[in-house]
């Protein structure tokens, strides 16, 4: 019996380390699953739609579920990110078009100070709601590992298109109108 003490302890330590490793890996969302599902046309439901996030410039909290029934262009950005600054005027213009079609842009800030985001929003005339993902868990559930990233969520609350780099007018013009045209 005593001869099994040392191997038992070593085995227990190995199992504990493996459990820690599994926990760590599972905490890092894999972006490839969302991307591949969208590519196959199996549109996944937007994750964490009910997660309440602070609304920029307000003491209120908001979540993605509030926009259910609308097409939502979800843009994850940060004020310190040059590509986000580059695409900001494009998004401000896109919001004007979306507002006419029962749709909206929703910004989600990622690892950003609220004062810096407010300055950014003022500078680029952002009028759409901006949610603050303080811990980064909301963005992680979308597989975000950098900014900017953009997800187009249809009226059923499913991710129908995504772009994990800086947006272009061509991509928006090609992607968003067909989704707007779909009925819920």
């Amino acid at each position: 019996m005593r001869r099994f003490v040392l191997p038992g302890l070593i085995a227990a330590a190995a199992v504990a380390l493996l459990a820690l490793l599994t926990f760590g890996v599972s905490n890092n969302a894999d972006s490839s699953s969302i991307d591949s599902q969208v590519a196959r046309g199996q549109f996944p439901a937007a994750p964490n739609a009910h997660q309440a996030l602070p609304v920029l410039g307000s003491s209120n909290k908001g979540n993605l579920a509030e926009f259910h029934g609308k097409v939502v262009v979800l843009n994850v950005f940060a004020s310190w990110c040059p590509p986000c600054r580059a695409e900001a005027p494009l998004l401000a213009k896109e919001q004007q078009m979306l507002a006419r079609h029962d749709a909206t842009l929703v910004g989600v800030t990622y690892k950003d100070l609220s004062s810096a985001t407010e300055q950014f929003a003022h500078q680029y005339h952002i009028t759409y709601p901006v949610l603050r993902d303080v811990t980064g868990s909301f963005a992680q559930s979308f597989g975000v590992d950098g900014v900017p990233e953009t997800f187009v969520i249809n009226r059923k609350g499913q991710i129908q298109a995504l772009n994990r780099s800086q947006l272009t007018a061509q991509w928006l013009d090609k992607t968003v109108p067909p989704i707007l045209a779909e009925k819920s």
Binding site: K111, L113, V134
Partner: protein, 158 residues
Amino acid sequence: MSRRLIVAVVALATALAPVASAGAAQQPRASYMRIVEDVMCVVCHEPLEVAQSPEAFQEREFIRQEIGEGKTRQQIEHDLVVQLGPAVLARPPAHGVNLLVYIIPPVVLVLGISLVALFIPRWRRRAREAAAGEPAPSAATLDAADAKRLNEDLGRFA
């Protein structure tokens, strides 16, 4: 008597008032260098004191502003957590899963020391027993031919 007591209390309070206010005023001013040592750049995952990302510059500016507003180190670190989440702290708060960071190393150390303390005497005892069980090599075990060759070899070195 009671008037004297009241006068004494008032006099004491008056005398101690500057000391008390000085004590309040002497609340340690937050040190910029001490804070950036304990804070991470949440984007590049480097200590803020060495991080060079645009986000790190924003964090440093935020800390300078808060120091300028007279906030303490604890208040500034709290504000940073509110703004950027607990990942901004170099040392994670000791609750939840983060507790493992503080529990596992000492537990592993104690286990390691216990194992060494437990098994080294056993291993040494076994080694001694094994050594005691082996026959001591001696010239008596040499046969005549080997003894003769040994003597010849030793003679050449003499």
